[in-house]
Amino acid sequence: MILDTATAVAWIRRAYELVRADEARLTRLDTAIGDGDHGANLTRGLAAAEIALDEKQPDSAGQALITAGRSLISKTGGASGPLYGNGFRQAGKELREEGDVAAVADALEAMLRGIEELGGALHGDKTMVDALAPAVAAFQTSASATLDLHAAGQAAVAAAEAGLAATVPMQARKGRASYLGERSIGHEDPGAASTVLILRALAEVTAP
């Protein structure tokens, strides 16, 4: 299994479906410690990404991710739009034509770097990084052990879920939740929750 153009497009489409289906939950999480728009933001951004993919008909997996990233940046708004958008752009640049499991591992690594560089969040700041960073590590470990894209994707989802759970006791130091100080403790970070969905979409579309 490789991540080719069709699979990359399917990844974005599936991410949109999963986010849309869970929009209310993401909004609820963001209402608790943010401003209650994360579900709406990401739904809007991914809807725009889907339209852009339809229009653009990308001819490589990298192009697909760059196209999705650009429209996430220009259409989402909020913090998560530029962050995820830059993440997908960097992943696409890294991936180029298409990629096997090792290339996807590098692309996810680039995604993480793209988010970290733009947002400046460190591990433990209670952001999407706390789900994505362990997920990328788990993906890499599984990739080198199994050489199986789907298995690596599943490992990434499991690690992201654990990372999401780990955000609960954290006190936020970035994003709107940081304004709550200690009151941000005890809640899942909405961006970490959406990261789980995005990775689940990848695992699903790479199922054999």
């Binding site: 940046i73 220009s74 708004g77 739009g81 530029p82 940081s178 304004y179 009151r183």
Partner: protein, 329 residues
Amino acid sequence: MKKLINSPDSLITDALRGIAAAHPDLAVDAENRVISRAQPAAAKVGLVSGGGSGHEPLHGGYVGYGMLDAAAPGEVYTSPVPDQILAATQAASTGRGVLHIVKNYTGDVLNFRMAAELAEDDDIRVVSVVTNDDVAVEDSTFTAGRRGTGGTIVVEKIAGAAAEEGADLDTVARLATEVNERSRSFGIALHAGTVPAAGTPGFDLADNEIELGVGIHGEPGRARGEFAPVRELVAYALDAIHADRTVSGNVLVIMNGQGGTPLIELYAAHAEAAAWLAGRGVTVARNLVGNYITSLDQAGFSITVTELSDELVRLWDAPVSTPALRWGM
């Protein structure tokens, strides 16, 4: 949830149509979601601001002679997107550079940064000033830092007056930075507002509870407090401001309503603020009392205090003609 809307999805579009109908002095680009002056200024530094909607009259209400050239309103409580900010920047550009006045929220900062990069591609020189006047939030290099709230209005007014007088981009930016540094704000909410797309209030408060140190997005504050007479609430807010930056000399005070507070209550609150300041020998040289930066229908107030110099008083008093602030013309 009952609101004067057609649907949460159409609210921004509908409100933009209303702004266009109400204010012939403004041009509304519905497609790009940009509010700009109907008569663009002749060569001067352009001023652009923007941010989530739901804070009306911020930002569109401050577009006009003496203040902003263009504003980019995002979805409710959501920063605008870079394309939109770029369009606003283009509308504001006369070749002398453009100042972005950005409230310090991760989303706003990131989206404005993206837009500034795109504008540089168009050979528009952009300088950004990030406002962060809200003392309720601890400031630290390890966090997102303080939020930009009511001080933004003072920055826009004074930078706008300087730009109108012909100051160059660096001067206007320096002045904006200075005003931001001289400004501090603190907000207290009695009831949360309701984001139309969410349908329920941002937080629930019992009959004797209030939120201390709320932001402008229905975020819960830094602590929940007990309801008290307005004299004590105002003193709490001013004490927090004073603890952060000594309040002294001549000041501008904005006694701001959060959208769901009756004006009579804001006047009662302003009476207490005036008494608190007079008791410390501080002179309220200028003031505003009313809804200037709101959080939909949230009930509560915020106080902004800016220490003025003679030059800042002069620029504050300079003519302005926008939907929300108008004097001298």
